[in-house]
Symmetry: C2
């Protein structure tokens, strides 16, 4: 082990200008250590190192740290801007354009072969997107065409500004559910569809503003507040809620509840089933649902047939529409889509309402929509970028999605984002760049111009079955099992979100998940574990005696390490009491064993290498601990306090109080202690 | 350093039965390391240690940990109970009695000399307590006698059950303010004094129940939620608010606001001053206030005259009452106390109301009162116990204070706790045990029986000046400066509590303080700093290169340590991005410097010794980090993951993904890396 030390030091240390100096010093120290009477030199070394610790430069102040954090956030941007200023004007403009619109970077290398792939992917995407968009629009309680509008403008904007190559942009199920479940409490879409539509557009506008500002002000971490586990639980719950909502369409029920929780919905379904429901509709919906699910099963078994599940919904729409048209089933109770307004997205900038009394509510809902939409888009974007091996710029993504929603709200689109299911299809279809989004948008646009009249006889049950068929992709049971295995607390957040969405409401589910996630962080700080450390045989490393049963305790010394990053008001007196309790226990044990009054514990060594910071309550607790230990004839020794910690302990004169017994490593502390005692 | 290693190992390791074994092993290893060709042995050692790490026993499950936490809380109790069961019955009963009523422990050794001291202290205390209690009762908007009642029963109960020897029990300023400011919003004490009284007693009852259950269920940490800094700020703000309330009495104003914030109060004072105020009252109050403050100044200068400031309030009451009686000033606008109902505490058990519609509100207010009262009592008790060198049992204290308030609520007492100012007087007067509380209670009881009629002419302005004179003790500017110097974030909590109390309300002030305190814990977890580590010259210790400028970086390797106890959803992607940013920067720097394509960074070593736990988001981020680094031709190495962390990384198969590159120390990791590469 010694040999390794010197070897590794020599091999890695010839780096900095001052290395030769220190290398000499160490060689001298090593030469000394050869003789057996080298204790003074060793002692000198130790003093030196304690001095390093005590004389370390002042840590950056709180303000300074805050400033540098903000600076660091904008660091890369500023750096790029600096290097830009040296270049000639045309290049500067191009660089700026490329930074804001990544399309200018990749379109220069764009080749025909790539376009062929993108064209195929885009067309596949469109065939899935058209029926889904119509379905999601009805889920959002909007007219069907709004779903199609939202599949035209946002994908185009995203293709200009986004950095992901796979994300398929458009309306998604969860956001549609969020919008309808929260906004219909403000205005009833049945009685005042125009007011409701304005509300949705205004919410979309604000959501876009929020999203873009998250990106611009580098607030992307707000999206992180929804942990992965919480998202899994939330998506699962939302999928079931969405599925329950589709029972209305599938059963052909007219009167339905506006609540989204499972109890209200099942009660409404039960009540309706006893009065009026349409068996024709139900059979029609179920048979096409089976058809779509079977094609998906085939697609999974045979990867080459990936396009089959992708175009199955379109086939279902075409076939069912024909069937209804030919059998005149719409006259026998099968509800159809009826009129869809065709043509390009109408301008809706005058529909945005800023003088409504609901503005505060709208802002709150927009914030939730913004976060959920971003979470979905970034999660899906990241996972596919990971597969293809490139990095997604989270902040740029947020700006792109924000802008696409702001401009979307000007052109009759409601909140769009990256869709889980369609992105997977896009990837499977072999898309190369965001061009597939452009192809899809153009196709949807053509459909809006020419084909909307053909959808008159499309049964609503088919839309319901298309939405239903997309839901299993949102329920990730394997991931839930994985989370259960790895982290029980994460699973609690998952379950909290799941049941919150299912039995209360979408917002409550999100709130429960966020609260549980943060409760964990706080809990770990409030009730930290405390390790007792022992020496690992053959090394100078001290480690948790529970984790490493082979580690050896040193007699007369208790070595503790607190499993927390903070010694603060919330845990200081707890830690103090626990340590005192252990010391007393150890003393008592010894007393009962030997029946002598000889002290068993002489030193308590507190390894502070974990601690990032300490507050005034923490220092007070340390002082009390020191006083109590002294009363018991035990000395307190401190090891490896970090920058902020040693600085504060110095300022509070705690280091003087414990007689300067502060060491860099536990080994040195033990040597010093026993050197002094013996 | 080598020398130290072997020496320290030999001197400390003869402990456990297996030590001799391991010592032999190490001696062999050391003998080997003497030769220069010992690399295989060293390598073998390392493999061994990595195996220790990877094969460590399974950490306790979440449920198990929770269980053991709860068990540990009740540990000492259970242990005591066990050892008790072995003893004969009479001794068992005595032990139980002593555990519940500490008075049975100390009264057996109680001596006459101690009683003399306690008698003096108790009488001094009573002379201060009687005027203060009357004043605080008016602050709580109750009749004066309720203050006196609260100085009879609670101190007696506390003397039986409490463990502190110095605490002086009775009504205190802050709790009185809390009660009146929050309860008068439910029932106006002017229009319905009886209903208000019932409300106060019910609140006291619930506060006592809360306090006792905190103690019984070991929930003492709830009191810790108010950090020391928050208490300093809160007390300072409350003192100013209380002082402003006293302006009513001091100026002889009739119409006053019920709000407690500084703006409302000053406006009310301003309005009243223009209409009606009593200059006589003001002069009387101010002159006696000056008298009390001067005696305090004398008491501080000459420690022997400590009794002078303690009895000054009583002198002020006697003299001013005589003055008013003789000059008939009460007929000239000087308001007096008028009738005080004498006699022993009436039973008030039938006054407790559980069927009121305010029950929820009462419970909330009682919780706040309970926490604030406990905070004050335990803070003051701990600090004096620290001076005398004994430990206060926090949970026992809570039970004692809880019981005294429950029984107090049955006997017309409102919430009592340990008073800052009177405890200091008790200590200065040389109290020995809780007997001084009994003496005080008996004295107050005698006063209630005989002297209440004499207080008829006591001017209210004198009560105001007595309260005002007690306030400076609550404003601790030195401590505020100390906190500012040591911890800026703590100071923010202080200032938040201070201004919250001053400008909003007492509850808002408390809420602000708690929120700021917890925000700090969360903030450190969300945006953790990341250290780069370097080798400390002459050691195998790696430390923060910023803290230790003499530390030496190893070329080709970036060593990071995250300054957080958790790698979780809230910080995982932030950490991943920061590390990738640094790696790219390092590469770019090298590129611009040398203009070659040679890679600068070969390894990223992630020192996990800080991390207590990791969640699924954290593991996902590690996987992404690993993938991204591999794309850049950099390898990820992990060092010293803790128990929970290595267990989860194993379960998630992350260790396999990085090719088992997990080491116990950074030194070993570097050796292994370069050993493999070279």
């Amino acid at each position: 082990m010694k040999e390794r030390d010197s070897e590794s030091f020599e091999s890695h240390s010839q780096v900095l200008p001052n290395t030769s100096n220190s290398a000499q010093m160490i060689q001298m120290a090593m030469a000394n250590s050869g003789s057996s009477a080298a204790a003074p030199a060793g002692h000198h070394d130790q003093l030196d190192r304690s001095k390093w610790l005590l004389d370390c430069p002042e840590p950056p102040s709180t303000w300074h740290e805050l400033k540098s954090q903000v600076k660091e956030s904008f660091h890369t941007k500023a750096k790029k801007f600096k290097s830009l200023r040296k270049q000639p004007l045309p290049k500067r403009i191009l660089s700026t354009l490329q930074a804001v619109f990544p399309i200018f970077s990749w379109c220069r290398n764009y080749k025909l072969a790539m376009f062929k792939n993108d064209l195929m992917a885009g067309l596949t995407l469109a065939s899935l997107c058209i029926p889904q968009s119509i379905g999601y629009a009805t889920l959002a309680k909007l007219d069907p065409q709004y779903g199609l509008y939202s599949s035209v403008v946002p994908p185009l904007i995203y293709a200009l500004m986004g950095t992901s190559r796979e994300i398929a942009i458009g309306p998604v199920a969860v956001v549609s559910l969020l919008i309808s479940s929260m906004l219909q409490k403000l205005i009833d879409p049945e009685t005042d569809p125009l007011g409701y539509k304005k509300l949705v557009l205004t919410t979309t506008f604000f959501a876009g503003i929020f999203q873009a500002s998250f990106g611009i002000f580098r607030l992307g971490f707000l999206v992180d507040f929804l942990s992965h586990a919480a998202i899994v639980g939330f998506m699962g719950g939302a999928a079931i809620v969405i599925g329950l909502q589709q029972l209305k369409g599938l059963l052909g029920i007219t009167n339905f509840t506006t609540n989204t929780d499972i109890v209200s919905v099942l009660r409404a379904v039960w009540r309706s089933c006893q009065q009026q429901w349409s068996p024709h509709t139900f059979i029609l919906g179920c048979s096409f649902l089976s058809f779509i699910l079977i094609t998906r099963f085939i697609g999974k078994k045979n990867k080459k047939l990936f396009w089959l599940p992708a175009i199955a919904p379109l086939i279902a729409v075409v076939v069912s529409t024909l069937m209804v048209f030919l059998t005149k089933a719409d006259e026998h109770g099968v509800k159809t889509v009826k009129h869809i307004k065709g043509g390009l997205n109408p301008i809706s900038i005058h529909d945005l309402e800023f003088n409504t009394p609901h503005l505060g509510q709208i802002a709150k809902i927009a914030l939730i929509v913004a976060v959920v939409a971003l979470t979905e888009a970034i999660a899906v974007g990241r996972s596919f970028a990971g597969i293809k091996g490139y990095r997604l710029d989270g902040n740029k993504e947020m700006v792109a999605i924000g802008f696409m929603n702001v401009i979307g709200s000007f052109t009759s689109c409601y909140a769009a984002t990256g869709s889980f299911s369609r992105t997977a299809v896009n990837f499977a279809a072999g898309c190369e760049t965001a061009m597939s989004n452009i192809v899809m948008a153009v196709t949807v646009f053509v459909a809006l111009e020419c084909l909307t009249r053909l959808l008159y006889y499309t049964p609503i049950a088919i839309l319901a079955s298309i939405i239903l068929s997309a839901l299993p992709g949102l329920i990730d049971i394997n991931e839930a099992i994985h989370i259960w295995k790895i982290d029980k607390f994460d699973f609690l957040a998952l379950i909290g979100a799941f049941f919150g969405v299912l039995f209360a409401s979408v917002e409550i589910g999100l709130l429960v998940a966020v609260v549980i996630s943060f409760a964990k962080i706080i809990l770990i700080s409030i009730r930290p574990g405390i390790e007792t450390l022992g020496r690992m045989p053959g090394t100078d490393v001290f480690a948790d005696t529970d984790q490493y049963p082979m580690s050896v305790k040193t007699p007369g010394v208790l070595i503790f390490r607190v499993k927390s990053a903070l010694l603060c008001f919330a845990n200081a007196s707890f830690i103090e009491e626990r340590i005192m309790g252990w010391v007393n226990e150890e003393e008592e044990d010894e007393y009962t064993k030997s029946n002598t009054t000889k002290r068993n514990v002489l030193f308590v060594v507190l390894d502070m290498s974990n601690l990032i910071n300490v507050d005034t309550s923490g220092i007070t607790a340390l002082v009390e601990l020191h006083n109590n230990l002294i009363q018991n004839g035990v000395e307190l020794v401190i090891v490896n306090p970090k920058w902020q910690v040693i600085h504060k302990l110095n300022q509070a004169k705690f280091v003087d109080k414990i007689g300067g017994k502060v060491y860099l490593t536990i080994g040195e502390a033990l040597d010093a202690c026993f050197g002094l005692k013996v």
